[in-house]
């Protein structure tokens, strides 16, 4: 944290809002000084300043209100925690009477509007959806497709590592852009193995690198002289885990479930399976086939999610086909992703 002498808010208050500052000092008001970078510098104006000059609440102990009475909020100081609230104030001081329900309604609406305006963009990790994690595959494609052209295990391994770095960067960007819009400095968010694996699977399904399994096997077989206990080793293991996960992912169970659900979809699924069987027979390895299937599942799932005119059948297929990404999303992206320290 920067010292008070280097604090932008404090310096602006002392130099440009001298009268307000003097007044606050004379009347022994409490000045709440926000740290640098917790707000945009262009928001500093008279309104912003006055919202940070507080006086003791006439009603509640340890509570403060804006000194100029023009801001309708309540600040509670609990040890080192600062809570800005309006609901509490109303709950504690407002008595709802039958004839004043309209007034109560208006006040609550006012609080909701205020809360929505101020907190609607608060970070919401649990609300991260698969769409938010659509990674910029252009960069990863480049790295992964280059891997085939490389000759040595080290060169190939470098491509994997670079891909992981890019995936991490992309996830970071995505979280920062979509879920941490408030300019409040928060604790670092950590991307852990579960999140990384899920993201790499998503990337692979869209990139569909050629002979992925062979490439991984080649790297592992011929990397005996490369150090395993570093970032390269970690990258190699992560991709190996991804490879094994895709290979062992049981899609047949899901398709069986789909066909067993109802006769109405029987024809459709039969048609699909015959087409798929033809298509998959042209693929080079079992892993490629699984990758293709998962990729198709995700595609269908996203199409049905995007479509506003989805039918019941579409919803069913979304439930089943999107199970893979959906489950990752619920369990990995929803909870684990962006674990906050």
């Amino acid at each position: 944290m920067t010292s008070l002498q280097k604090n932008l808010f404090y310096n602006t208050l002392v130099r440009q809002f001298r009268k307000t500052y003097r007044d606050a000092i004379d009347k022994c008001y409490t000045i709440c000084v926000p740290i640098n970078d917790s707000y945009e510098s262009n928001v500093i104006n008279d309104h912003f300043m006055s919202a940070h000059i507080l006086k003791a609440s006439p009603l509640l102990k340890s509570h403060f209100v804006a000194a100029n009475n023009k801001h309708n909020f309540d600040v509670e100081i609990d040890g080192q925690t600062l809570r800005v609230t309006r609901v509490n104030e109303m709950m504690k001081t407002y008595l709802i009477l039958p004839k004043y329900l309209d007034d109560a309604k208006d006040r609550i609406k006012c609080i909701i509007d205020w809360g929505y305006e101020n907190f609607s963009q608060l970070p919401s990790l649990s609300g991260i959806s698969s769409n938010d994690l659509q990674l910029d595959t252009a960069i990863e494609t480049e790295e992964l497709s280059q891997m085939e052209a490389k000759t040595t295990p080290l060169e190939k391994l470098y491509c994997l590592r670079k891909t992981l770095d890019l995936v991490t960067q992309q996830m970071t960007k995505s979280v920062e852009e979509k879920h941490f819009l408030l300019p409040v400095k928060t604790d670092p968010i950590c991307i852990m193995s579960d999140d990384l694996i899920a993201a790499v699977i998503c990337v692979l399904t869209s990139v569909k690198p050629k002979r992925f399994e062979s490439e991984i096997n080649f790297i592992q077989t011929f990397s005996w002289n490369l150090p395993q206990n570093n970032e390269f080793g970690y990258s190699s293991v992560t991709f190996e885990v991804v490879k094994e996960f895709i290979k062992n992912y049981d899609i047949n169970q899901k398709s069986h479930k789909t066909s067993a659900k109802g006769d109405t979809k029987g024809h459709k699924s039969d048609d699909n399976s015959s087409v798929n069987a033809k298509h998959y027979s042209n693929m080079s390895s079992p892993l490629d086939r699984e990758l293709e299937k998962i990729s198709k599942m995700i595609d269908i799932s996203s199409i049905s999610t995007d479509s506003s005119q989805s039918t019941n059948a579409n919803n069913d297929s979304n439930d089943d086909l999107g199970e893979f990404l959906g489950s990752l999303n619920r369990n990995s992206f929803g909870v684990g992703f962006g674990k906050q320290y």
Binding site: P188, I189, C190, S193, D194, I197, N229, V237, F245, K339
Partner: protein, 229 residues
């Protein structure tokens, strides 16, 4: 300066981090490694692989801490992470008995795969949630008691930490490193003894030609051959 540097031996250890969700694995890992990264750490979010370097007993040590995929769906893939690991941190939440049961299953798996080559540390995290009395008494907690007894029974070491209040974490890693160094030393000694005993074996040049006794078929074939000739 340079002469000092050359005197130091170097050791690299791989530590895998295991634990159910929400037991505080990430916090533990970051709390320990953040001292090194300090301000720069915020620029990176990749926390699944972190390293820590320090010097202990004239040995330059580098710990690579690998976060493992802990979700049930990735459970079968755990052994890929355990490969070549020297130590394992099995973290449980001292307020959640289920997290300890999970630790037990991981211990079994690790012992099955790595045998006694891995040093196991069972870590009860979130001690800040204990009452002040329990904190002062140390083991006055049923889950911790159980974990301690279990750790002894499986030749693992038990530690209590609080990532939140930064308690016990440095000691945990330091102690684990000492144990891994000792383990390495032991393995080296055992290897030396083996090689020495094989080298000192009388009338042997390290090559033994073992001839299988002839089977009935071969004997029959021999007699047939003899007959032909």
């Amino acid at each position: 300066m340079s002469s000092n540097a050359t005197q130091l031996s170097q050791q690299q250890f791989k530590i895998v981090l295991l634990g159910e969700g929400c037991v505080g694995k990430t916090s533990l890992m970051l709390r320990y490694c953040q001292n090194k990264f300090t301000e720069n750490h915020e620029s990176t979010l990749q926390a699944s692989f972190l390293t820590k370097k320090f010097i202990i007993n004239n040995t330059r040590v580098q710990l690579s801490i690998w976060d493992t995929a802990g979700q049930e769906r990735f459970h079968a893939l755990g052994p890929i992470y355990y490969r070549d690991s020297n130590g394992a941190l099995l973290v449980y939440d001292i307020t959640d008995p289920d997290s300890l049961s999970k630790v037990k299953s991981w211990v079994k798996e690790l012992r099955k795969i790595r045998g006694n080559n891995v040093v196991l540390a069972v870590v009860g995290n979130k001690t800040d949630l204990l009452s002040p009395q329990q904190q002062s008494n140390g083991a006055d907690n049923q889950i911790i008691d159980e974990a301690q007894k279990y750790s002894q029974s499986v030749n693992a070491y038990h530690y209590c930490t609080s990532a939140k209040s930064n308690r016990g974490i440095d000691d945990l890693f330091l102690d684990l490193t000492k144990k891994m160094l000792a383990q390495n030393q032991l393995i080296q000694e055992q290897t030396q003894v083996k090689s020495r005993s094989s080298a000192s074996a009388p009338n042997q040049r390290g090559l033994t030609i073992a001839a299988d006794p002839p089977t009935d078929e071969e004997e029959g074939a021999d007699t047939r051959r003899n007959k032909c000739c």
